[in-house]
């Protein structure tokens, strides 16, 4: 009972800690994509793609290396414009609007080595003109909540790989945007740390629900963290298959991923991936 009230209080504190930009208070970050195609000059990266994602849902994009999944992520996040088709985030399709609704977390953590962890996490606030002290106190609350207390003043070089990813994720979260675009966030970590971080991200998302597009080449990671997983073919990308995860972000990651139902879906996904890679 006490634990429950504490958690409720935490969740409430969380909601106030992360401010949502004024222009998107009514929006929760639904995504819709129609007839998307993209090429770099002669090189066709995405053949054809349709997608729909409900607000606060987590979508996984898996596919062979170089299939265009990172491109797709950047297109959704408004960092690039598609050659064909339409992408809507919260019902808005122009790239500036998409950019203002999505926070992008690149493949390597890209923490700025000259800033302490807390200033790295608070970058979005600083970019919006919030003073350093105010930005730090806002980010500081999240450091406590996400198991980073005590590391506020550490330089990125002093942090472990898992810690750096947490700071990078907080930096993305603090931007306060309805959609998070994560590009292989745990690819550089060792297997144990990666499993830990998947559990951590699952808990973080239950505390701070967001619409998430997660690019990964780890099927297990996608099926554990996401509600639905889209398997992409090799370049030019098209949808090779769509899957629903059996127990998205359930507590006890290690039990979930060894559950027979999970293993069956994973093998099916492997099959789709192999077929799509042909």
């Amino acid at each position: 009972m006490r634990q429950d009230t504490k958690m409720a209080a935490e969740a409430e504190g969380f909601a106030t800690a992360i401010e949502t930009p004024a222009n998107s208070t009514a929006n929760d970050g639904g995504i819709a994509i129609w007839d998307l195609g993209h090429s770099y000059g002669e090189l066709e990266t995405i053949e054809r793609l349709d997608l729909e994602l409900a607000p606060h849902a987590v979508l996984g994009l898996v596919g062979p290396s170089g299939c265009g999944k990172s491109t797709l992520l950047e297109l959704i996040a408004g960092l690039q414009e598609p050659s064909r088709g339409k992408i809507e985030v919260d019902g808005e399709s122009d790239p500036t609007a998409r950019l203002s609704h999505c926070a992008f977390m690149p493949q390597s953590d890209l923490l700025l080595p000259w800033l302490p962890a807390i200033d790295n996490a608070a970058l979005a606030l600083r970019n919006r003109g919030i003073r350093r002290a105010a930005a730090r106190s806002e980010a500081g609350e999240l450091f406590e909540r996400f198991g980073l207390a005590g590391f506020e003043r550490s330089r990125p070089a002093e942090l472990s790989g898992g810690m750096r990813q947490r700071v990078a994720f907080l930096r993305t979260l603090i931007a306060g945007k309805p959609v998070l675009a994560l590009d292989e966030p745990f690819a550089a970590l060792d297997a144990i740390t990666r499993a830990e971080m998947q559990g951590w991200l699952a808990r973080a998302l239950s505390q701070a629900p967001r619409t998430v597009v997660l690019v990964t080449h780890d099927i297990e990671e996608a099926l554990y963290l996401c509600d639905q997983v889209v398997v992409l073919s090799s370049r030019p990308a098209r949808v090779a298959g769509r899957l629903s995860a059996p127990a998205p972000r359930a507590a006890g990651r290690d039990e979930v991923v060894t559950d027979p139902a999970f293993v069956t879906v994973r093998e099916h996904a492997m099959h789709l991936l192999r077929e799509g890679a042909k």
């Binding site: 992008f104 970058l123 970019n127 931007a175």
Partner: protein, 250 residues
């Protein structure tokens, strides 16, 4: 310790060998010269002490020329690097001229500067600036361009303006590279200043060297060189110190 001790030992060994070779007359004999033309380190040290007032006076003149020139080189070098980084139009227009500016021999330019700018500090400072702005501009431009393009995407996605990306990501990224250029510039500055003085000056270490050369005052000539090197070493050390203070993340 090792970093200081080994070069110091080498220097001491060289000076010792020179001392023996010069004071025994072996070096002069080898060069077929009168022995007073080949001063020993001890004689140079003596001259350094005896002419300390004169050397300090002239060193101050040269130091001012160097600092003014380095100041101009810093402003112009860093300014050009930022402008070229921000605008491909500026880069395509200016970059070739920056390179050409280094192909024009200072030998030809210095006398013209003397005619245009007179006998004061300015022609020397401009020669120093011309020699020194190039390494600063080139290395700073390279540093600004070396920022990870993914970092720019991340910043754009976190609502950063172009100016914020420049200030928060690209400028810090460029700092180590800038300091590499600055160290090079600081070492080139005395050469520029001495050259500027050789073309026409009434004071300064370069002027003194020229004068002592004509008077066969070889011991004091070497003393001037020692002072000039000391200035360069101090400026180099100060630059390295500034780098250590500012670039703390490496």
């Amino acid at each position: 310790m090792r970093r200081w001790l080994l070069p110091a030992l080498l220097l001491a060994a060289l000076a010792g060998a020179w001392q023996v070779a010069a004071s025994s007359g072996a070096l002069a004999g080898l060069l077929d010269l009168e022995s007073y033309l080949v001063p020993s380190p001890a004689e140079i040290g003596e001259s350094l002490w005896q002419s300390r007032g004169l050397l300090a006076e002239n060193a101050w003149v040269t130091l001012q020329e160097m600092l003014l020139g380095l100041g101009i080189a810093f402003v112009v070098g860093v300014g050009l690097a930022f402008l070229m980084h921000l605008s491909t139009l500026v880069r395509d227009t200016v970059n070739p001229l920056v390179v050409v500016s280094q192909t024009v021999p200072i030998l030809v330019l210095a006398p013209i500067l003397l005619i245009w700018l007179g006998f004061g500090i300015w022609p020397k400072a401009v020669v120093v600036a011309l020699v020194c702005f190039f390494p600063i501009a080139v290395s700073t431009l390279a540093g600004l361009g070396s920022a990870d393009p993914e970092a720019a995407k991340m910043m754009r996605s976190l609502d950063a303006s172009r100016a914020q990306i420049l200030w928060r990501v690209e400028t810090p990224t460029a700092l180590p590279s800038f300091f590499t250029g600055a160290r090079l510039a600081v070492v080139l500055a005395p050469i520029g200043a001495v050259f500027g003085e050789w073309v026409g000056a009434s004071s300064g270490l370069g002027h003194l060297i020229l004068f002592d050369n004509s008077q066969l005052e070889t011991a004091r000539l070497f003393a001037s060189v020692v002072v000039l090197s000391a200035i360069a070493i101090v400026l180099f050390a100060l630059t390295a110190l500034a780098e250590r203070r500012i670039v703390t993340w490496r």
